[in-house]
């Protein structure tokens, strides 16, 4: 209707609604829920959609890749450093292991590390931020000072030191990543809670006798969910990148397990004569980081009420 010029409107365009309150109050357009609106805006954003599809393909690859391949990730086939061909789609490495299989096993490990670190960050960070933001006063002051001091400590150095002490492995890696990573999430949650807790509906809920736990669960967290979700989506690529970076320093998951970082690290010395050994894990790292960043940015734009049309 909006595209019609006012002068073109005919009497037939209007209909009498009547004066019964029940009828005048009904909505002419189907109402769209908040998340429906968000997903519509997200899909309209081309970059975010490309990111989402890339991510879906990588996750499907991680689930099905090792399964459709005829080799296992640790099987040594006797064909050393073969270029990609019909049998070995992505080539083989110096021990004759199939890179196609290893790359998807690596995808499982890299993505698992990313998600696990992000979820632990989420749990600690949200709890810390929510308590600090809601309690306020002295507690808030002390909790945020602790967070300040932790951010002052250079993150990657701590992770490296922790890994040196704990011995490289999957779980030490996740612990090291999340020990330092939750502070950012705590900050974001706190600022969201601070913004929300003085709003009228929270006051109304309080007047009706809601306690803090109920407030957090029913009112504050659902409303802060957008910002938390965006932060989490952007934490995952950082974790994946850090994992690959640490693997490059020789602190990655131990052999014969493969993450993209350890594969890239193993493939690097063979760059001159077997470049595919670095190429495939490298490209997958780049694509995954791109995809998560694009989805995160897209989510942020889709959730921003200022951009709402």
């Amino acid at each position: 209707m909006a595209d019609k010029n006012v002068s073109e409107l005919q009497p037939s365009d209007f209909e009498i609604v009547g004066n019964k309150t029940s009828e005048t109050e009904t909505l002419a357009r189907k109402s769209i829920s908040f998340w429906g609106e968000v997903s519509r805006r997200f899909i309209k954003n081309k970059l975010a959609l490309i990111g989402f599809i890339t991510l879906a393909i990588i996750i499907i690859g991680a689930i099905c890749g090792p399964w459709i391949s005829e080799f296992t990730y640790r099987q040594q086939n006797g064909d050393y450093n073969m270029a990609p061909n019909g049998t070995y789609w992505f080539g083989t490495d110096d021990l004759g292991r199939d890179i196609f299989t290893r790359v998807w096993i690596g995808a499982r490990i890299s993505i698992f590390i990313g998600f696990a670190a992000a979820i632990i960050d989420l749990i600690i960070g949200v709890a810390w931020g929510a308590v600090a933001g809601l309690t306020g006063g002295r507690t808030d002051e002390i909790m945020m000072r602790i967070a300040d001091i932790l951010t002052a400590i250079p993150y990657l150095l701590v992770v490296i030191i922790l890994l040196v002490v704990m011995q490289p492995g999957l779980f030490p890696m996740i612990i090291a990543l999340s020990l330092t990573g939750w502070v950012n999430m705590a900050r974001i949650t706190r600022s969201e809670i601070l913004k929300l807790k003085n709003q009228e509906y929270v006051l109304a809920a309080r007047t009706l006798g809601a306690n803090n736990l109920h407030l957090i669960k029913r009112h504050l967290l659902p409303n802060a969910l957008g910002a938390i979700l965006v932060t989490m989506t952007l934490t995952i690529p950082t974790a994946i990148f850090t994992e690959a970076f640490l693997s490059y320093l020789g602190l990655g998951v131990p052999a014969p397990l493969a993450s993209w970082g350890t594969m890239a690290n193993d493939g690097y010395p063979a760059l001159a004569n077997a470049p595919w050994r670095l190429f495939f894990p490298g490209v997958l790292i780049c694509l995954t980081i791109f995809a998560f960043n694009a989805v995160g940015d897209g989510l942020r734009d889709a959730l921003d009420p200022k951009l709402r049309k």
Binding site: A152, V164, A244, F245, C286, I289
Partner: protein, 312 residues
């Protein structure tokens, strides 16, 4: 201002104390031993080694010694390479790492701002799209992959640059680009969005209305204000470039501190690990402080205050 500085310095001291304490206790828990080798050492030698490095003292004495030594800037002798002082390694590696780091920062800031400005000036035209694609690539490609790609195509295949080593300016170009690519993309994104905001603001419209030429408006008015977010990014940029240098120095065989640090990790050379960690922390914490102070000078709207208020 003074109060703010004082508070920040106290934070830095607390953070440093925590780092030193944490590294000390973690290293004591760490498995592996720098004296371990294929041949078992005779007990007498083991004992004298322990005595030399003070490992026979109870932990609190060791801890106290370590705190005092760190505070006076003495990080002890390498456990792996006898007669090598950690301080010497830092003194040797630091100028190299700093040259590389400054070059990378220069590339990141210079090209990042340039790319961002061009993208904003041609908003929604092809240069904007081209620059956005460049920024996406820069953010998505990790520095070590970028390093390998540069090394393979520009050094190995094309032969325009030396493959690795450290022997003059030309050796520093590829590592600096690899180190700078991700922060450059971030700066380009930041500059673009803040530049777009500025070009739509009243004072820019006013300047245009007065008939001032486009370039003067862009460079004298809009860009100066648009650069504020870039200045805030300088602190994480420094951190990123310092930590990024671990891998880049390893890949390009550059004898900077990053390489010593990585080697000391695989050697379990605890004194060197602890020394370089503390050194890096000091540099990083100071860099963040300097950026904050700079920021208050550049943006007069921000006043540095103690307490929880954020200026304004």
């Amino acid at each position: 201002m003074i109060k703010y500085l004082g508070q920040r310095l106290i934070y830095i001291v607390i953070a440093l104390f925590l780092i030193i304490t944490a590294t000390f206790f973690l290293m004591r828990m760490a498995p592996g031993n720098p004296f371990a080798s294929e041949r078992a050492l005779p007990p007498a030698i083991q004992e004298s080694l322990n005595e030399k490095y003070g490992l026979d003292n109870p932990w609190y004495i060791q801890y106290k010694d370590y705190l005092v030594n760190s505070a006076t800037g003495d990080f002890g002798t390498s456990m792996k390479y006898k007669y090598r002082e950690t301080n010497d390694m830092i003194a040797e590696g630091f100028p190299i790492s700093m040259t590389l780091g400054l070059e990378a920062m220069f590339i990141a800031v210079g090209f990042g701002v340039l790319i961002g400005t061009i993208a904003a000036l041609f908003h929604n035209k092809w240069p904007d799209y081209l620059m956005s694609v460049l920024a996406v690539i820069g953010i998505s490609v990790p520095s070590f992959v970028m390093a390998a790609v540069l090394q393979y195509y520009l050094a190995l295949q094309a032969g325009w640059f030396p493959i690795a080593g450290w022997n003059g300016f030309i050796y520093s170009i590829l590592p600096a680009i690899a180190l700078a690519s991700t922060p450059m993309a971030f700066i380009a994104k930041l500059t673009r969005s803040s530049m777009l905001e500025e070009t739509n603001s009243e004072y820019v419209k006013m300047a245009k209305a007065k008939g001032i030429s486009r370039w003067v408006v862009v460079f004298k008015h809009a860009l100066r204000n648009a650069l504020l977010p870039v200045v805030t990014y300088l602190a994480p940029l420094t951190a990123g470039i310092i930590t990024g240098s671990f891998v880049i120095e390893e890949i390009f065989a550059i004898p900077g501190i990053g390489k010593y640090f990585v080697t000391s990790i695989s050697n379990r050379d605890y004194t060197v690990i602890m020394g370089t960690t503390v050194f890096y922390s000091v540099i990083l914490l100071l860099a963040v402080l300097i950026v904050d102070i700079l920021y208050s000078f550049i943006d007069p709207r921000i006043s540095l205050k103690g307490g929880k208020s954020n200026g304004r």
